[in-house]
């Protein structure tokens, strides 16, 4: 597999930043950055990361199963992550998540039929003092109300270059 030029450059730097012989350390960051470009963690991607980091595909596979941001199935172009952990729960996070489910017509870790949106009820994303919080791809949105979420989702650009995921 070959990635985009900027990603190839990033991976070259990444492999060089760990001590000699410790290139396995690049497995997790390489997976997450590659996922952004490929769309999901595919079998080919696992084999490619294993080859580049000098480990077996099984060693990469077991890592994929552990980290919640790594997805084996494609997620939406816009991955909507609603936090319902305590700080968000106290100020309407659960209601906001229910609203998002109704609005998008999908549930936890599901994707809309057109592939535009996926939804995830996430654990604390570190926005507690500005709750309730939503992260769309890698963009944080604070003090989100149902109306604000509608606006946000309705106004996301169609261009393929806006989303950080599936770029």
């Amino acid at each position: 597999m070959i990635f985009s030029a900027p990603l190839e450059e990033k991976f070259a730097r990444m492999l060089a930043q760990y001590p000699p012989g410790r290139q396995r350390s690049a497995v997790v960051p390489m997976l997450i950055y590659a996922q952004d470009e490929v769309g999901s963690i595919t079998k080919e991607l696992i084999e490619e990361v294993a080859r580049r980091c000098g480990v077996t595909p099984l060693q990469v596979d077991e890592v994929v199963g552990y980290y919640s941001m790594l997805h084996r199935k494609p997620i939406g172009k816009y991955h909507v992550q609603v936090c319902t952990n305590i700080s968000c729960q106290l100020v309407g996070g659960e209601e906001l998540y229910e609203h998002a489910k109704r609005k998008l017509g999908i549930g936890h870790r599901e994707v809309t039929r057109d592939g535009r949106f996926s939804l995830e009820e996430v654990e604390c994303i570190g926005a507690c003092s500005w709750a309730p919080a939503v992260e769309i791809n890698y963009d944080f949105h604070h003090q989100v109300t149902a109306e604000k979420l509608d606006q946000l989702l309705d106004n996301l650009p169609d261009s393929d270059h806006q989303g950080a995921a599936n770029k």
Binding site: R22, L90, E123, C124, G126
Partner: protein, 429 residues
């Protein structure tokens, strides 16, 4: 002015957050114009043991949650080991209620870099890694830019600031795992594995990343170091209470009028933080409970909140100062639903390595769900307490305790909240 997430309070003591809100506060120019790297140059003139002594005098304690004395931790790193020594920054901030390291990286990344460099001088390290949670991608990019700027101007890399001393610094992305905030799980993660906690000893200071001596601290801990070296450990210690030096970023969330991150001296009165710094509870409601420092801490009932916020005082009260994530709950809060939400989190995040944690969190979640769904049995309340008690101290890392402790405190202190879930008629209302 840089946009801040919340208005600062005049009641704050701004030491590590002093640059928050300055124009281009994340730039090296702003940093240098406001005393940046003065502490580093001072540290260059000091012997390593003097640096560590100054940190000990400051009574700085780990800001990630455990509160271990920082200077002591630094002294455990075998400086003369023939192996390379590594600095690792824990920026995996994910303790529910905590959102401060974000600001330290966003508004003052060079202060963090300076703190890392001083630590590196103290333990003779030449390479460091900032482990940033994957959800904070924008901060990884921001730190990468700050690091590139520091390299370009000679504050990282070879012959730093003409001193003949080398240090390389890198970021490392996580990919979603609360457990990786535990230092030994973080080390496994940075080695490219599942984040499973390690048996201790050996402690990371002796055998950490790639089997080498490793100094691992939280973002806020490193960020406090420049002020300690610049103004002296004693000046920092004097801001707080005995054995609880300095200030810390308190993240106030939940039912308050002005939620936000505020820098307060250790020992600050909790009720003053709620009522004055954070503007009190909305709608004239009464306080019911407080999570003092992240969801792992036993909760306090309102009448227990007339307390000084330092590590030792909260420990004496049976709770913890933790990570600085203070969650305020008013009288309308349903503590059973809070307990369930907390347990859903720990059950999701348990890495599954230790059976008491893996099974315990899953069973506690199931029992609490059953209650909230209206099928609670009277004996369930005691069962929650019993199961939690059986998890305590029986796991490799603190996640099992972190799940058990808040649950036990809710069962003990808010028994009345469970009543309505035990009487089917009341649930139907």
């Amino acid at each position: 002015m840089t946009m801040l997430y919340n208005e600062p309070s005049p009641l704050e003591t701004r030491v590590v957050s002093k640059r928050f809100g300055l124009p281009n506060s994340a730039s090296l120019d702003t940093f240098l114009a406001t005393g940046g790297f003065e502490a580093f140059h001072k540290a260059r003139e000091m012997k390593p043991e003097q640096i560590i002594e100054e940190v000990k005098v400051s009574a700085l304690r780990g800001r990630g949650g455990a509160g271990f004395p920082t200077g002591l931790k630094w002294s455990f790193v075998p400086r003369n080991s023939p192996k390379p020594k590594y600095i690792i920054v824990n920026a995996d901030e994910s303790e529910p209620g905590t959102c401060k390291d974000r600001l330290l990286m966003e508004y003052d990344p060079h202060q963090l870099i300076e703190g890392i460099l001083i630590a590196a001088l103290a333990v003779d390290s030449h390479a460091g890694y900032i482990y940033i949670r994957g959800e904070y991608r924008y901060l990884i990019e921001l730190m990468d830019r700050a690091i590139a700027e520091a390299y370009a101007k000679g504050y990282l890399g070879k012959n730093i600031a003409g001193t003949g001393w080398d240090f390389d610094l890198y970021t490392h992305s996580g990919a979603g795992a609360y457990e990786c905030g535990e230092e030994t799980a973080l080390l496994d993660s940075i080695e490219g594995k599942r984040g499973i906690p390690r048996m201790k000893p050996p402690f990371p200071a002796v055998a950490g990343a790639w089997g080498c001596p490793t100094l691992l601290n939280n973002v806020e801990t490193f960020s406090a170091v420049p002020a300690i070296i610049r103004d002296g450990g004693k000046a920092f210690a004097d801001l707080g209470t005995p054995k609880n030096g300095g200030t810390r970023l308190v993240c106030i969330s939940g039912h308050v009028n002005k939620p936000g991150v505020y820098e307060l001296p250790l020992g600050y009165p909790m009720m003053k933080a709620i009522n004055e710094v954070a503007g009190g509870i909305p709608h004239g409601r009464k306080l019911k409970a407080v999570v003092p420092g992240g969801s792992s801490c036993p909760l306090l009932r309102a009448e227990e909140c007339d307390i000084a916020m330092d590590y030792d005082t909260l420990a004496k009260a049976g709770s913890m100062l933790g990570s600085g994530g203070m969650v305020v709950m008013d009288e309308t809060t349903d503590m059973v639903r809070v307990a369930l939400r907390i347990m859903r989190f720990y059950a999701h995040e348990s890495c599954g390595w230790c059976i008491p944690c893996r099974e315990g969190t899953a069973w506690l979640r199931k029992i609490l769900s059953r209650m909230v769904e209206g099928n609670g049995r009277r004996e369930d309340v005691a069962l929650l307490g019993e199961l939690s008690k059986n998890m305590l101290g029986r796991t490799f890392c603190a996640l099992g305790d972190a799940a058990a402790m808040p649950t036990m405190s809710i069962v003990e202190k808010f028994a009345e909240d469970f009543e309505k879930y035990l009487v089917p008629e009341a649930v139907l209302v």
